[in-house]
Structures are given as C-alpha cells and as structure tokens.
C-alpha cells in the first residue's frame, strides 16, 4: 500500500532536470514500452511503465533502489514506439544517474555490478583515451571481488582458456598486455577534469 505522506512529489522534477528525463510527465501509461520490450521475456516482471508511474507518484526510494533499473540494454525499442515521445531509454539513464550520485554520497546501496563496470570503463578512457582490456578487467574484477588477488583469481577463471586460444591463433601477443594510447591523451584528462568527472 502506498502511503501518500511518504511520497516525494518533487522527484519527477529532479528526473526532468537530468538530460534525457525531460519528457517524463508526457507519459499516459499506455504500456507500449513494456509490451514491446524484448527484455520482459528474459527478466520476468521487468516493467518500465511501472518505473515511470512510480517516478511520477514520487516513490523516490523504491525507484532508485529498484534492481530493474540496471538490466535495460538501451535497445531503444520503447523509445521508438512511444506515442508520447517519453524517450524511455534516455529516461532510465537519467534515473540511473541520480541513483549513482546517491550511492556516491553514501545514501544508497546498488547491488548491480553495472555501475562499477561503467566507472571502470570511464577510467580507462580518462587514462588512455581508448579501451584497454586488461586495465578494465583489472579494475572491474578487483572492485567486484573486493581485493586484487581475489579479482585476479576470478578473472583467470573466466578468461584463461579464452586467452590461451587467442594466443595460439596469433591474435594476442605480448603487445596486447600494454595499453594502446591516444596520441595527445592528456586532453582526455582535461575533459574529465573540466566536467568534474576526474578520478577521485
């Protein structure tokens, strides 16, 4: 049961201030997004319409701690079909950004490892300008497993056989262990610093 005095009616405006969340209030709950979503066959009970309605009602805590926020693949089928141009895929991105900030501030715990992966990915770009597989795996696995050693164990379990096969086929030499850097990569750091996203 929803208790109205526990709702935060300003939550919708908070979302609408984020890029991508602008069209939230256009939603008239037709559920086209959910009926067309290919993910509903794989994750039973996944329901973007419900997330939107909960946001509109102001169920801030329930929305931000909802694990379903982190399973969307951004295939944008919902965005393409929405008659009200709510841009659901971008909207969920906006809500994820708020949840992420809450976690950084220590007010929320996110179970999904996806934000951890996203952050590790961004750090590679900040450092090298391009994706560096080993750096990404090192940071992601270390964060996920809690320690560097445990992370390396988990990584070798997942990728040892694959790595050996690549090596045998001549697809991966010793050079692959080192990052390939963008020519003037100092600028990447500058961009990140400018936008306040530099590694803390």
């Amino acid at each position: 049961m929803i208790k109205t005095w526990e709702l935060e009616p300003n939550f919708k405006y908070e979302i609408m201030k984020e890029p991508g969340g602008e069209h939230l209030t256009s939603c008239f709950q037709c559920s086209t997004c959910t009926l067309g979503c290919p993910l509903t066959e794989i994750v039973p009970g996944y329901n973007p319409r419900k997330i939107i309605q909960m946001s509109l009602l102001g169920m801030r805590k329930e929305v931000l701690s909802n694990p379903d926020l982190w399973v969307c693949l951004i295939c944008q089928t919902c965005t393409a079909r929405c008659p009200q141009d709510v841009r659901i895929a971008d909207l969920l991105g906006a809500i994820r950004r708020i949840a992420e900030r809450e976690e950084e501030a220590g007010k929320l715990k996110i179970d999904s490892v996806r934000p951890r992966f996203d952050k590790a990915f961004m750090h590679q770009l900040e450092k090298y300008g391009r994706l560096y597989d080993f750096g990404l795996a090192k940071e992601y696995y270390t964060g996920r497993e809690g320690s560097f050693f445990k992370g390396m164990m988990a990584m070798s379990k997942d990728y040892k056989a694959f790595g050996m096969r690549l090596f045998k086929k001549g697809k991966m030499g010793p050079k692959a262990l080192f990052p390939e850097k963008v020519k003037d990569r100092g600028v990447m750091k500058k961009i990140f610093e400018q936008m306040g996203a530099g590694k803390k």
Binding site: G20, V71, C72, L73, D118, F121, K169, A197
Partner: protein, 296 residues
C-alpha cells in the same frame, strides 16, 4: 580500379582494433575496390560508448565525442564507422550540438582549452550506408564475382543503427531495408525470422555486468535464426559481432550448448561475394567457423 568516390575519415573505435581487426581489413579492402579512400583519424579516442558512458555521465560524454568530430573537421572529411555504438554516439552528439547552440558553446569552451573547436561541418556515416547510397547497388553488382546463391542469411541490425529513427534518418526503425538490399545484391536470400530486430544482448554494459541475462538474450536470437533455416548472420556492428561471435563460446560454456553459427560483418560478407579469401577478411581468426557454402 574504378573512378574515385571520395575520401573518408575512418573512425575505428575500440572493439574493431582490439578484438576484430578483420572488420577493419574487410571494410578498407572492399571500399578500395570501389575507389573510396580511407584516412586514419590521428588522436581519435573512444567514441565514447553510448550505453556504458552516455547513459551514465552525459556531461563528460559530449565533449569527448565532440573532440572526435573536431578531429574529422580539421581533416575536412566526413566520417565513416564500423560499429553501431560509434555511430550512435557520434551521430547523436553531432545532432545534439547542432540542435542546441548553447550546449555547443559550452562544449567549445572545454575544447578550446586544448585548441580544438567543434564547428558542425562533418557528417557521420555508417559504412553500410556508404555501400548502399554512395557506392550504390549497381556498382556493387558489377563486382560480385562469386554469387552466394544458395545462402540463407539472417539479417541483424543492432539497435543503435536504427533508433532513434529521427536522428538516424534511415526511415522507420520497424521496417529497415539497407542490409536486405545489400544481401540480395550478392545473390543470397535474406530470411525473415522471429524477433529479427531484437538486440544482440550486449548493450549498456550488460555483457559484463549481467552476463547470463545477456547470453540468454543472444541464445534466443540465434535459435530463432537457426530455426528459420539460416546459414549465417550478417550485421553492421562490431559490438554485436563481439557478442554474437565470442558469445557463442561463452554460451557453450555457460549453458552446455554446441553453437557454431557463422557471424559476419556486412563488408566481410560482401568481400566473400567479391571473391576475397577468408584469410584476407579475417574470418579465420574468429570464434565461429565459416561453412563451405560461403567459401566455395
């Protein structure tokens, strides 16, 4: 060599050089056959990834993308890409910056710190759109040396090639036609299968963060294609290639299945029809093996 059809800047991205250099080789070789020259974008960074980065920190995403666009502008060339992720990011950033002068001003302030400027003079093209629109189906047909007549192809578009349709400009995202046209030119047959426009399952960081969900997604996609009697899958995206090709080995491990369904990038498929060998196109170093039917 036919007449020159212009020069383009090739935005490599991350997956193509890191995992599937065959896609780069195939695209460059096929384009060269038709007189399209490719220039490298020196100093280009990651696009940056639309799901992992864009939906996470849009404010930082935009200047990074704008910097890549500015590099192409300095070369005075249009860009082509071989990955839907890059296509999505760069084209959407371009669209955003052109639509919103205020955002452009803010981004240019950041770029000015290291002497670059986004002007809005370049255009982001997908390699298969160049094949379809610039080279054209007639020119393509002349170069087909080994028609792939009895091959049934499952077409996979990937999400960011088609959506959002008002930015992409390839017509309705529900009734795409570009890949189908390219397949028919080679003599092969494009087969309709269940949930044809379904995502490959890798998007938004889910490949790593929620591996089983993403593999189940890919499994359904491949099963649908196999059930429709397809011999191979052709797609325009390096990231889909990673998930569909490498994902099969992961699925076999996770679900105990025995998938070996050939996955080809669009230019690799056309390269085969033009008489190139699978070694030239980098098809011999990927997870799935090509059937005799395609190589003959």
């Amino acid at each position: 060599m036919s007449e020159s059809l212009g020069t383009y800047a090739y935005f490599l991205g991350c997956i193509t050089p890191n995992r599937y250099p065959g896609i780069e080789a195939a695209t460059k070789k096929v384009f060269k056959e038709f007189g399209i020259e490719t220039k490298e974008m020196v100093g280009a960074s990651c696009c940056p990834a639309p799901g992992v980065f864009g939906s996470f920190d849009l404010h930082t995403w935009l200047p990074v993308a704008a910097r890549n666009l500015a590099i192409a502008e300095e070369m005075e060339l249009e860009i082509y890409v071989t990955c839907n992720g890059c296509y999505g990011s760069l084209q959407e950033a371009d669209h955003l910056l052109k639509e919103h002068p205020k955002v452009k001003e803010r981004v240019n302030k950041v770029l000015a710190k290291f002497g670059r400027e986004y002007k809005g003079t370049t255009k982001v093209n997908h390699s298969i759109v160049i094949l379809h629109d610039v080279i054209g189906l007639d020119r393509l047909k002349e170069k087909i040396k080994k028609p792939l007549d009895d091959v049934n192809v499952a077409v996979h578009y990937g999400c960011h090639f088609l959506k959002p349709s008002e930015v992409r400009g390839h017509g309705s995202s529900e009734t795409p036609y570009i890949l189908e046209d390219l397949i028919r030119v080679t003599g092969a047959k494009d087969v309709d299968y269940k949930d044809k426009l379904m995502c490959c399952g890798a998007g938004g960081g889910n490949r790593t963060a929620d591996t089983l969900q993403s593999l189940e997604w890919t499994r359904q996609k491949l099963v649908n294609a196999i059930m429709a009697g397809c011999d191979c899958m052709v797609h325009p995206c390096a990231f889909c290639h990673l998930q569909l090709d490498r994902g099969q080995a992961e699925m076999n491990k996770a679900f105990g299945t025995n998938f070996n369904f050939p996955i080809l990038f669009a230019t690799q498929f056309i390269g085969l029809a033009m008489g190139m060998s699978q070694e030239e196109l980098g098809l011999d170093i990927q997870t799935t093996t090509m059937p005799e039917k395609l190589l003959k």
